[in-house]
Each structure stands twice: as C-alpha cells, then as structure tokens.
C-alpha cells in the first residue's frame, strides 16, 4: 500500500527542470557556510586574546577621564590629551625647524644615543664579565667594586660625566653605558663560571687554544646568560636615556618632556610617555627575540 503511494509521490509530472544558475548559487552558499564555520572556530581564540587587553585599556581610560574631568583636576584627561596632542600622535614625522620636530625623529635621536652607549656596554661588559668569570683573582679584585658601583642611580653619574667630557652629548652616552653595563658584566661572569666541567674536559682533550676555547665553548655556553644580561641592560639604558636627556638638552625624547613641562604642555608629556613606553617594550622584545634565535641550540641536553 505504501509503496505505490511513494511512487506516486515521486512520479508527479511537473518536476522543476534543473537550471544551472540555482546550482551555482547553492554551491556559493555552502562555501560561505564552511568559511563561516571556520571563522566561528578561530574567532573565540582571537576574541579571548584581544578583548581583555582592550577592556583593560578602555577601563583605564574611562577611570582616568572621570578622575581628571572634575573642576580641581591638575592633570589632563585623555580626551584633552587627544584634542591637544592629536598632531603629535598622528604625525610623528613632521619637521618644522631644528627644535620643532615630530616624536618619531626625537625617538630616533634618543635611540641613536642608546645604541652607541649600549654598544659600548656590550663590548666592555662581555669582556670584563669574561675576565671576572675566568679568573678567580680578577673576580676577587673587581667584584666588590662592581657590587658597589652597580647600585649607583644613572643620574648620579651625570655630573661626573659632564665634568670629564665637558660636553653633554658624550656625557649622556656615558650615562647609558654605565647604567647598562653592570647586568651584562655580572650575567656574563655567572654564565662563564657555570660552564660545565664536561665542556672544559672536551676542550682539554681537543687541546683547544685560548681563542678557540673562547669562541667555540665559552661564548656559546654562556650565551643564554649573556642575553639575559643584555635584556636587563637595554631596559636600564632606556630608563637612563630619558633622565639624562632631560638634563643635557638636545632634541631627544627626554628633552622634549622637559621642554613640554617648562611650557606647561601636559598633554604633550603624556603622549611622549606613551611613546617611551612602547619603544621600551619593543627594545625588550627585540633583544629577547635575538637571544631566542641566537641561543636556540644551547639548552642543555
């Protein structure tokens, strides 16, 4: 009974003729649905990573806005910073004359100083660290000195540096150098003192000379420690440059803040602070990334 009924239902004459356009449309729908499903799978992951930081920043801005919008507020709220500092934020590369340049140019000037000072700190720091790590006598002689000197705040060096160099430019670079060097020395020394006896034995059996030992065993073995020192050092160097430039002048980002303070442009200072923070963060990440790639194989096995 049911069979003829079924066949009857299948048979009806007015079967809609299959027309190609409908097919194409259907395929398109299927593909977009597939895409949508994929997006739906990836989306929660992206959302979980991006929404909390955005919320955090948003809330901070709102609280700041509320706190600084009252009648007696001494600091500008974010809306005012945006209004008055828009030009600085949106165009870091303007150049209206020797003292009126965009924050991008100022950062580059500061970064140049850091590069020179930090570069010297790397060379001298690794050399001294190697000496102290290798020789017990050098360690006994120099370690107390290092331990005391490293606690001196960067700016305390500035007058001495100005007296010695009689010029603010090298003095600022010296402050960077002296700030960044201590963690490099100390970490290099620890790294070299921690080279396993096994590697020393291998070097002895192979009769590596001092230079070969330095390049083939010591540097690679101590590299993870050295990079830790460099990462701390670059952070300190960036701390030092801003302070040093505030006092020595020039066109760096530190001087910009001092200048803005003297002409009561508080929103400009806040914009500069954000820039400094972002650059410091980037420097830290760059050194960390270089360290990661340079020491990939050094994990002990």
């Amino acid at each position: 009974m049911s069979v003829p009924a079924l066949s009857e239902r299948h048979d009806p004459a007015p079967v809609p003729p299959p027309h190609p356009p409908a097919d194409v449309v259907r395929l398109g729908v299927a593909r977009s649905r597939f895409l949508k499903q994929k997006v739906m799978l990836v989306l929660p992951g992206i959302a979980a990573r991006t929404i909390p930081p955005l919320l955090g920043i948003g809330l901070t801005l709102i609280v700041w806005e509320i706190l600084c919008s009252g009648a007696g507020a001494t600091l500008p709220p974010p809306s005012q910073v945006w209004r008055e500092g828009k030009e600085l934020i949106l165009d870091p590369w303007f150049n209206y004359g020797p003292q009126d340049i965009g924050l991008g140019f100022r950062l580059i000037v500061s970064l140049q100083r850091v590069a020179i000072g930090f570069g010297f700190a790397i060379i001298v720091g690794i050399t001294l660290g190697t000496l102290v790590g290798q020789s017990t006598w050098a360690m006994r002689a120099l370690d107390p000195l290092f331990q005391v000197l490293r606690t001196i705040p960067p700016l305390a060096w500035l007058p001495i540096a100005l007296a010695a160099f009689r010029n603010s430019q090298p003095a600022a670079i010296f402050v960077i150098f002296i700030t960044a060097i201590w963690p490099i020395i100390i970490n290099t020394a620890v790294g070299i003192r921690n080279i396993p006896q096994d590697y020393r034995n291998v070097a002895q059996v192979l009769q590596l000379n001092h230079f070969e030992y330095f390049t083939k065993i010591m540097v690679p073995a101590a590299a993870p420690y050295i990079f830790t020192g460099l990462r701390i050092g670059v952070g300190l160097a960036w701390l030092g440059i801003v302070a040093a430039e505030m006092l020595t002048g020039g066109v760096g980002i530190g001087f910009f803040i001092w200048d803005a303070w003297n002409s009561s442009r508080l929103p400009d200072i806040i914009v500069a602070l954000v820039y400094i923070g972002l650059v410091g963060f980037a420097l830290d990440r760059i050194v960390a990334a270089v360290g990661y790639f340079a020491t990939r194989g050094t994990a002990r096995s």
Partner: protein, 264 residues
C-alpha cells in the same frame, strides 16, 4: 721491549683541608698495542680517577703514565675520551660535534673535503650518518653516546678511553652499542681502556679485565685474561665454559673478596 702504554706506580690523593684522602695507591699496569682492557670495581674505588690520570685531565700525585715512550702530562687527542655523560656540545649538530674534533686534529694535514669525508666516515662507523643535522637534545641517549664515540674515534687516538660509556643506557641499547664498539675495535685495531661496572660487558669486550680493590688506597687486585676468540657473539657465549668461568671469577672477586662494607 717497552709496552705501548705503561702506567707505573700511580698514587693519587686529594687534599681535603688538612687531611689527605688517598684514592689510588701503587697502580701499575702495562698495556700492549691493540689490546682491549677493562677496569672494573665498585663505585668509589677510583677507577674513573685512574682513567682521568691516563687522559691527563687529573695529575697523579706520584708515578706516571708513559705512552709510546712519551710521558703523559696534559690531555690530548692521542688519548681521546668517551665521557660517561657523552659531553656533546648542545649548540652544535651531530655533524658539528664530530667536525670540531676533526678540524682541530687534522686542520693542518687534511683538506676541507677530506675533513668532511673523515667526519662522515666516522659517523658511518657508529651508524649515525643518517642524523647528522640534529642537535644532541633531539636524539636519544644511545645515539648521543654513538656520536661521542665517533668524536673520539675521529681523532685517531693511540688509546681510546671509555669512561663507563654505557652506564646511563638501558640494557638493549647498551647491548647494541657494545656490539658497535666491538665491531669498530676489531676493524680499526684500537687500543682501548674501558671503565665499567658491568661484569658481562667486561667479559664480552675485553682481552684483559683489571679488577680494582675497594678504596681508600685502591689498587689492582687481580688481572684476568679473557681467552675467547673474536668476534664474540653474546648469544653463543651464554653457555660457553670459558665465558662463564671468567664471569664467575670477576663476580667472585667483586662480591666475595671485595664485598662493599654494609655501611656503604
């Protein structure tokens, strides 16, 4: 005629504050060229110290080592060591670890291409030619020790020093490596000193087994010549009378005459 390697009247004491700690006392041993000698003893009997003295890594307090008429004072590639914990440099690849040794020993006498071939040849010998670009962290313990052996062999040492080379490996891997070492020693005719605490390993591989007494003041208690034809097959030896006899004698030495004090 003088022996190939002469270890004479070695005393070794480590100064611990004012009290000296005598580890070795009057160790004398002659080894001829191409001989495979095992040194066996309980842990702490100073057998590794003895090997380090032969390697030149530790100076002897009294006595000395003479290799082919030359007094041994410093470490050198003529006495290549395979370390217990492989001691590969983790930042170099398998190839790089062996090549470092080849470059150092043959940098002046072989061309670049020859050094490459020499490196690959020794990686082939230890059956590691297929994993040359891996780093030590990416290969197994047995493979690391194979590379360690290749690194030692490529220096063409006069004496190959093995410091408990298979101690950290599981039994199956250890057997494979023992076979590899035996095969290589037979092929290249190396003179080998091996430190071990494994009786079967000692009997299987050695021409002579040197049994050390317990420390302090450890010395050579007994020397046993293992008179078995080579190549030796561990399966065929399982009920060979000479093999079992040698094994029993070493066991008796270790567990009857040199039984470890209960306190240890």
């Amino acid at each position: 005629m003088n022996p190939y390697l002469q270890i004479s009247h070695i005393d070794k004491s480590f100064a611990r504050g004012t009290a000296g700690n005598d580890v070795l006392k009057g160790v004398t041993l002659s080894i001829s060229k191409g001989e495979f000698v095992s040194i066996i003893g309980h842990s702490g009997c100073g057998k590794s110290t003895l090997l380090n003295i032969v390697a030149g890594l530790t100076p002897a307090t009294h006595g000395g080592v003479v290799l082919e008429g030359q007094h041994v004072t410093t470490p050198g590639p003529d006495r290549a060591v395979v370390f217990q914990n492989h001691s590969l440099l983790p930042w170099l690849t398998v190839y790089g670890n062996v090549r470092l040794a080849v470059d150092k020993v043959f940098g002046k006498t072989k061309s670049r291409a020859e050094r490459h071939d020499w490196t690959m040849h020794h990686l082939h010998l230890v059956h590691m030619a297929h994993e040359t670009q891996k780093r030590p962290a990416e290969i197994s313990g047995g493979m690391k020790q194979r590379v360690g052996i290749a690194r030692a062999l490529c220096m063409e040492p006069k004496v190959l020093l093995l410091d408990e080379p298979f101690g950290a490996l599981d039994a199956l891997t250890r057997a494979q490596l023992q076979d590899t070492v035996q095969e290589i020693a037979a092929r290249l005719g190396n003179t080998v000193i091996m430190i071990t605490h494994d009786v079967d390993e000692a009997v299987l591989l050695s021409d002579r087994i040197v049994m050390m007494t317990n420390g302090p003041c450890a010395t050579i208690g007994e020397v046993l010549t293992v008179d078995l034809p080579r190549p030796r097959d561990r399966l065929k030896l399982t009920d060979n009378a000479t093999y079992l006899g040698a094994r029993a004698r070493v066991l008796r030495f270790l567990y009857e005459r040199q039984r470890r004090p209960a306190a240890a």
